[in-house]
């Protein structure tokens, strides 16, 4: 389970954590916690046939069938280890439609520095990628489905 660290008691209040940081494709990436519904262990994956190699399969999370999407492949064209092996953890988005994507490791919650970009985070923020992906899916959804 994720836990928020106690803020350091100094003169200035520590910035509130706003990003979930994780390893994906061998690099540190992050997603705003407002876009994260859950971090879950990947159990059984049902590998449905699909025209898209990004679709790994579907998983069941709290009774809901969710697609497991290889987001890493969309980043640099290479499949994440999820495409070939069995990473244990996925991030479930708070979006419509909901997707789950496997990550190599969850590094924790961190604050996004508001200043000094040179000393800023060394991770890529995936908010725009996930937003675009889910918006694309939502627009493409057949209302008859």
């Amino acid at each position: 389970m994720l836990s928020r660290a106690e803020p350091i008691r100094s003169g200035r209040p520590a910035p509130r954590p706003s990003m979930l940081v994780f390893m994906l494709g061998g690099r540190s990436r992050a997603l705003s916690i407002g876009m994260v519904a859950a971090v879950a262990e990947i159990g059984a994956v049902t590998r449905l046939p699909s025209a898209s190699p990004c679709n790994i399969g579907v998983i069941v999370h709290r009774g809901a069938v969710l697609p497991l999407v290889d987001v890493g492949r969309g980043l640099d064209g290479k499949p994440t280890p999820a495409g070939t092996g069995a990473p244990p953890v996925c991030i479930i988005t708070r979006s419509e439609p909901v997707i789950a994507f496997p990550v190599e490791a969850v590094l924790g919650l961190q604050a996004l520095p508001a200043e000094a970009p040179a000393a800023g985070p060394s991770w890529d923020v995936l908010d725009a990628l996930i937003r675009d992906l889910t918006l694309d899916l939502a627009l493409d959804q057949d209302p008859a489905d």
């Binding site: 059984a44 049902t46 046939p49 699909s50 069938v65 969710l66 697609p67 997707i99």
Partner: protein, 166 residues
């Protein structure tokens, strides 16, 4: 038979489904649509006759783009022996039934006949945007995090190339 229960309206309506396996995934076909099962002949013919009608042969491994003849974990016997299920989907007014609804599905194995609640089926996630949308009519969560995939025989028949002989 089960006893009548006054609260039966709250009980999910279940139907019996034939559960079949292809590449380790569990697919389900309404059992009332299954006419018979038989060993799949080799090579596969384009169609098989049964009861005066022709059933279009569809090798699900081939249609799904899977390697041919891999062994089925947990199934009796090694891979090469496959099964053919003759399925006749009754007309529903959606262009199903008739010739389009008569298919001979070539599968890795028959897992059994079990009750499933079609009302519990969830739609195929939106990320599945290819021809698979015509093949599957829903996903039913099963114990252990597994998912049974409800097949749409008429959609399979429409997707398969004419003949589909191997």
């Amino acid at each position: 038979m089960t006893a009548m229960r006054p609260e039966s309206a709250a009980v999910p309506l279940t139907a019996r489904f034939a559960l079949i396996a292809v590449d380790g995934v569990e697919y389900a076909v309404d059992a009332s649509w299954v006419r018979r099962s038989l060993p799949a002949p080799r090579p596969l013919p384009p169609a098989v006759p049964h009861g005066g009608a022709a059933f279009k042969v569809i090798d699900l491994r081939q249609l799904f783009g899977l390697p041919a003849g891999a062994p089925l974990p947990g199934a009796a016997g090694p891979g090469p022996e496959r099964l053919m299920l003759l399925v006749e989907q009754p007309p529903t007014g959606e262009g199903t039934g008739g010739d389009a609804g008569r298919v001979a599905l070539v599968v890795d194995g028959l897992l059994g006949i079990e009750p499933l609640d079609p009302g519990a089926a969830q739609p195929l996630p939106a990320v599945y945007r290819g021809p698979e949308r015509a093949w599957f009519r829903g996903l039913v969560p099963r114990p252990g995090g597994r998912v049974a995939v409800l097949l749409r025989p008429a959609g399979l028949a429409a997707a398969a190339p004419g003949g589909n002989g191997c």
